[in-house]
Symmetry: C2
Subunit: 250 residues, 2 copies
């Protein structure tokens, strides 16, 4: 049996939905999770609205092994993530002494304004997630990890998350590319996929320099299966009179 | 009253969730919708799994004025979007004569293989969405618009969508930037926001060249309100002894 561990990501931020900001966290987290054997299985992008945050967190924590949120944990009036994660769990939202001290050590006692103290408000029972970049911590409560939205800060927080979660079988993948429409290979792909129990094949068309092509991605947790499938697919593509390419996508 | 029209986007594709491909459609669609007075209010990224597609489409079409899907309408075994949109609506999934003819005209009769014919299978009652790039159409069924995943194709389909939807009040925005932590401005931002009925202010911190800064984005459907708020905010920032910048983010 191949054990699958699944995660959801909730991206909280009006600025992504308005198109002002291009999200950079989805792709980073997807790859980072893949590297430790966890499948990112759903992403939601929602606005900074109390009920929407509570609902997304509650639905996702029921349905996935792990949930990550990004955004909305800063010091201003529109930073309402932490408060609403507390509400989602039905726990108190309190000044956390450990977080207060982290901020004070970083900023100096005199600079710990009321606005900044907001960043030390944490749901009761949560454990802090270190922020080596700018001190203001994220937090973990049960299977939910609340992270900053700024990519460099979010990425630094993952260092403290890595030892708290454990993955299943790591999904291995191989990719090959052709400069021919994917429809020519539809039967071959379906055939090869059906020959192996844990294999999945994705076909991703592209359009480059006026030419159509496709990338076929084979995925399996079993390296032997993956290698066998790759050899068969290569042979079938050759037999069809098409050249294939490996390595980076064209 | 300011009328709000809201849309959801469902991005269907294992390749985005695995991190192999970086989605390029979210940001494009967000801006395109904003330009016609429609707020993108939720995005979901889900895998190519039948039930997940049906559930996401059904939840979103209940809760939003418009729903857009991208991905999974090609000719291969992993292209299962159209079929599952039909299931979500409880309608038949049939060979559409108009779509078949579009493909035939584009590819030549002899080249219309069985795999390619899959791209002419459309839910009963849907109307086709033109694809000027590669012929294989998208479709609209009620408030759901099913689009291709390849960005250049998806974008070309939006040309045929634009005259089928209508927006509410267009949300106008202004942005100013400071090179100082956002926490210094927390009270000012909350104050100014509270002075206007339709105004929202977002504060988006950044970290650039070793310095912290923030972009404040003011949004309102009323241009007069927006201009007044901007002047007040500028004055309050100046009074606090900080320089602000307008134009592109630093």
């Amino acid at each position: 049996m191949v054990k699958k561990v699944k995660a959801a990501l909730v991206i909280i931020g009006d600025e992504i939905l308005s198109g002002r900001t291009r999200d950079a966290n989805l792709n980073y987290i997807a790859k980072w999770l893949g590297g430790i054997g966890i499948m990112l299985d759903e992403v939601r992008v929602i606005p900074d609205i109390a009920k929407r945050i509570q609902d997304a967190v509650n639905e996702c924590r029921e349905n996935f092994d792990y949930v990550f949120t990004t955004g909305g944990i800063g010091p201003t009036h529109d930073d309402i993530t932490a408060e609403n994660v507390a509400k989602a769990f039905g726990v108190k939202f309190l000044l956390n002494e450990e977080a207060r001290k982290l901020l004070e050590d970083n900023m100096g006692k005199g600079n710990l304004t009321e606005a900044r103290l907001r960043m030390a408000m944490i749901p009761e029972g949560a454990s802090l997630i270190k922020n080596p970049v700018s001190a203001a911590p994220g937090f973990q409560i049960e299977n939910v990890f609340v992270l900053a939205g700024i990519p460099v800060v979010m990425q630094s927080m993952l260092l403290d998350v890595e030892n708290r979660i454990s993955g299943g079988a790591k999904i291995l993948s191989e990719a090959i590319h052709v400069f021919r429409g994917e429809s020519y290979f539809a039967d071959i792909l379906a055939d090869v996929e059906s020959m192996f129990e844990h294999l999945s094949i994705g076909s991703y068309p592209f359009y480059k320099g006026g030419e159509y092509g496709a990338t076929f991605v084979l995925r399996s947790a079993l390296s032997e299966e993956l290698e066998q499938a790759l050899e068969i697919l290569k042979k079938r593509i050759c037999d069809s009179g098409t050249e294939y390419f490996t390595g980076e996508a064209p």
